[in-house]
C-alpha cells in the first residue's frame, strides 16, 4: 500500500516537473522570480528584527529562534499541499473534483501529489537560517534528544498546519468557495511567530486551543529555549503537540471525506 502510493507519488509529481520544464523561458523566469522573492523576504525580515523591541524579557536571539522555528513547518506544508488552496477557491464549485473521484486512488492524495510549491523552499530556507543563527548565539543546547524532538515537533507542526488548512478548505463542499476562511486561518498563523504571552488572554486562548497555531511554533520552541510557558516546561509539550496533530488530522480528514459525500459536482 505505502509502496504503491510512494510509487504513484513519484509518477504524479514528475508530471508536474515535466509540465513546468516544458517551457524553458517560463522555467527560468520562474526561477528568477523565486530568487527575487526570497531576497525580498530576507530584507523584510531584517527590517522587522531591526525594529523589534525586547518583549517581556525575551532576547533578540530567542525571538529569532521562535520566528525561524515557525517558518519551517509552514514551509513544508506550503511545499507539499499547496493544491488544497485550489479546493477552497475553485475546484469544488467548478466540478474539478470529479476527475479525482473517477480514479481508484485516495482523493486527497491525488490532490496534493499533483503539485509542489517551490516558493516554499524559501520559507524553509529562511527558517533554517534563523534557527541555525540563533542556536549559534547559544539560545539552546544541541543534544541528541533535542535534535530528535526538534524533528518530531516539525513533523507534528506540519500536520497541524495542513489539518487546519484542510479543515477550512473542506468547508467549500458546503459553501462552494471557502478560500476566505482558509486565508483567515492562515493569518491566524502569523500570531504563532511570536510568544503567545504578548497577546491578550483571549487571543492567546484561541491560538492555543481553538486554532492551535501556538503548538506549531511558540510552545515547542520555548521548550527548546528552556523558557517556561503557560503549559509549564518539559519534553511533554512535544507529546501534547503530537496529540493535537493527530486529533486535528483525524477531524479534518473526516471533514474532507464527509464533504465528498455532499459534493454536488457542476452541471454540464
Amino acid at each position: 500500500m505505502i509502496k504503491r502510493y510512494s510509487r504513484l507519488y513519484k509518477v504524479l509529481i514528475s508530471q508536474f516537473f515535466k509540465v513546468i520544464m516544458q517551457s524553458k523561458v517560463d522555467f527560468l523566469m520562474g526561477l528568477l522570480g523565486f530568487f527575487l522573492t526570497q531576497i525580498l523576504g530576507i530584507v523584510f525580515l531584517y527590517l522587522i528584527f531591526d525594529k523589534i523591541e525586547l518583549l517581556n524579557g525575551w532576547s533578540f536571539e530567542q525571538l529569532i529562534f521562535i520566528y525561524g522555528f515557525a517558518q519551517i513547518p509552514r514551509g513544508i506544508d506550503h511545499l507539499l499541499t499547496d493544491n488544497i488552496w485550489l479546493v477552497a477557491w475553485r475546484w469544488v464549485i467548478s466540478g474539478d473534483i470529479d476527475r479525482y473521484m473517477l480514479r481508484p486512488m485516495n482523493i486527497l492524495f491525488q490532490i496534493i501529489s499533483e503539485k509542489l510549491q517551490p516558493d516554499a523552499l524559501g520559507e524553509i530556507l529562511i527558517g533554517c537560517i534563523l534557527v541555525a543563527k540563533s542556536i549559534s548565539a547559544g539560545v539552546s543546547h544541541i543534544t541528541i534528544t533535542n535534535v530528535i524532538l526538534f524533528f518530531l515537533s516539525i513533523i507534528a507542526g506540519t500536520i497541524i498546519y495542513t489539518s487546519i488548512k484542510l479543515f477550512f478548505a473542506s468547508l467549500a463542499f458546503w459553501v462552494k468557495i471557502s478560500g476566505p476562511f482558509v486565508q483567515f486561518a492562515y493569518q491566524m498563523a502569523d500570531f504563532a511567530k511570536y510568544p503567545t504571552e504578548i497577546y491578550t488572554k483571549s487571543i492567546g486562548f484561541i491560538i492555543t486551543w481553538v486554532i492551535p497555531f501556538a503548538f506549531v511554533a511558540y510552545l515547542p520552541a520555548s521548550y527548546f529555549l528552556g523558557v517556561e510557558n503557560s503549559l509549564g516546561i518539559g519534553a511533554y509539550i512535544i507529546g501534547v503537540e503530537w496529540i493535537i496533530a493527530i486529533i486535528l488530522g483525524i477531524i479534518s480528514y473526516n471533514m474532507f471525506q464527509k464533504g465528498l459525500t455532499v459534493y454536488e459536482s457542476a452541471g454540464n
Binding site: R4, R7, L8, V11, L12, Q15, K18, V19, Q22, G95, I97, D98, R99, M101, L102, R103, P104, M105, N106, T261, V262, Y263, E264, S265, G267, N268
Partner: protein, 337 residues
Amino acid sequence: MITVKNVSKEFVSNKKYPGFKGAIKGLFSNEKVSKVAVDNISFHINKGEIVGYIGSNGAGKSTTIKMMTGILTPTNGECLVNGVNPSKQRKINAQNIGVVFGQRTQLWWDLPLSESFTILKEIYNISDQAYQESMTFLNKILDLYSFFDRPVRTLSLGQRMRADLGAALLHNPKVLYLDEPTIGLDLVVKDNIRKAIKEINEKYQTTVILTTHDIEDIEELCSRIIVIDNGKKIYDGSLEKLKDTYGTKRKVSMEIKQLNAFEGIELSETLGVTPDLCSTRLDVEKNTLEVTFDKNKLQVPQVINAVMSIADVQDIQIQETELAEIVKAIYQHNVAK
C-alpha cells in the same frame, strides 16, 4: 451488471433573490430551495448491453451517471455496479469503470498524450503485458499513435475525444459511461467513435451507458433506451417499441399534377375520420400533397386510394416518424399516451 433501485438526488441551496438588495436579503434569510434532479429512478442493465440514456438538458441524465460513477451520493435509494456500491466503495468501483465526459477531458492537459497513458497505467496498476495488448487494440480502433506525442491541449476535438475514449478503456473496464461522446464532432469522427464503441462492446462484452442528443448515436448503437424527463423515468425498452408507442404518425407524400383538384377538399371527410387523425398539406411549387395520419386508425392503401379517387398520382413516398421527432415530442411533453 448495473442495478439502480429507487434512486433520487436532491440538491438543496439557499434561496436567492434578485438584485443587490436581494443578495443582502439572501445573506440573512434561511430559506432553502430544493431541486429534485433525479426522482425515484430504477432500472437494471445486463452485461454487454449498450443502453442509450436520453432526455433534454437538465432532465437528470448527468446526475444519474454521476451517481453510478460514485461522484455523487444519492439522497435516497441505491446503485449497484458489478455488485459494488459506487459511493461507498468508490475506489473498487473506479477500477471497474471507464468514464468519458464529452465536455471535459480527464487527460493531463499540458502533457503529451503518451504521458497521460503512462500515468494511467500506474494509476490502474496495469501490467506491462496487459498495457501492450490494450494499446495495440486501442490504436487499431482509434488510431491513437498518429498524435501520441502531441500535448493534449494541441489536439483537435475529434482527436481529443478519441484520446479520452482510449484513456477510459485502457484498464479494460467492465462498464463504460459515455456522457455525450460525440458532441461537437464532425460526421466522419462521429462514425469512427461509434464503430470503436461497437467493437469494444463486441470484443470485451463491455456494458455501455451513453447519454446523447444525437439521434444517430442511438439508432446505430443502442439496443435499448431509457428516457428521462424532469428527473423521472418515462420510458425503458427497445428502440422499436418506442417508435411503436410514440411514433403513431405516418406521413405519405404524393406528387400530383392537378393539385388544384384538392382545393377545398377535406381528406379526413373523404376517409370518414375526425380531422385530428388525418391532415393534409399542399406544396404548389413541388406539386406534392403531404398526408399525415394516425397509423393505428388508417392504413396506407386507404389513404392512397382516397387521393387517387380525386386525382392522378405520379409518385408516392411513405415515411415513418423519425426518432428525432418522437424525442422532440417527448421533450416538449406533448406525447399522446
